[in-house]
Amino acid sequence: MLITRKIEFSASHVCRSPQLSDEENRRLFGSAANPHGHGHNYVVEVSLQGRPDPVTGMVLDLKELKEILTREIVEPYDHRFLNYEVPPFDRQVPTTENIARDIWRRLEPRFAGGNNKLHSVRVYETPDLYVDYFGEPCSV
């Protein structure tokens, strides 16, 4: 069974790689390469896979899940400039893919060993673009 909790944060970022020229960055990332940055209202859906506890009937208390997501994701990410304030984006381009993978890395240890595990992280950069990450190896 999967359970999903949704959280939101707002952050700014710049998509440009120091390994590429200005021209290549503009071609690859378009307006997202603007060095002054821009922002999004990100929406994140975190899904856990597990069996309901026979007594509580819950895979995980959603209040507890909300607290974990607030502490691990919203607090470090919300109202931040990702490139300057949220590692690893000082050295990794904060694309939606890399944000999904970083969220996975922050969350996975929190769900290890219980009767549930992290199944997927979905990050909406806008309502028209989202990325699903299922960890490695690929389970898509």
């Binding site: 590429l20 694309t95 993978r101 028209d128 990450y133 690929c138």
Partner: protein, 145 residues
């Protein structure tokens, strides 16, 4: 491995009517969707692509190229069109249900995929069509040639 999904919209009209069934049977089967004058929907199309993220760009797909492919071969061909009379795929026995629309969209994307994405990755993963916000149809790219 990532799955990147882009959302597009198009508006089109259609009529559900099978040439292989009688008029009465068509009316019974398709109900209001069999209205001879047709009707329309604001379709919502999600195209999902699967692939690893590039080490330099941090992206699994160039969304500008994906947009050009989907807009060029699907949205422009379908938007503000009558699917029955203007699309060759639905000129014969194939009824423009959203199931068949999904197959047609998948086919168009796969046929033109290599022109835009010549490498091993990214691959087309799935196509999802919302005919209305309550009726959604999803096709895995593996389901067709």
């Amino acid at each position: 491995m990532f799955r990147v999904t882009r959302r597009y919209e198009f508006s089109a009209s259609h009529r559900l009517h099978s040439t292989q069934l009688g008029d009465e049977e068509n009316r019974r089967l398709y109900g209001k969707c069999n209205n001879p004058f047709g009707h329309g929907h604001n379709y919502v199309l999600e195209v999902s692509v699967r692939g690893p993220a590039d080490a330099v760009s941090g992206r699994a797909v160039d969304t500008t190229s994906l947009d050009a492919l989907v807009r060029g071969h699907v949205v422009r061909a379908f938007d503000h069109r009558n699917l029955n009379t203007e699309l060759p795929a639905f000129a014969g026995v194939v009824v423009p249900t959203s199931e068949n629309l999904g197959f047609e969209i998948c086919r168009r994307l796969k046929q033109n995929w290599k022109e835009v994405f010549p490498g091993e990755w990214p691959k087309l993963d799935r196509v999802r069509i919302g005919e209305t916000p309550r009726n959604i149809f999803e096709i895995s790219a593996d389901e067709i040639e």
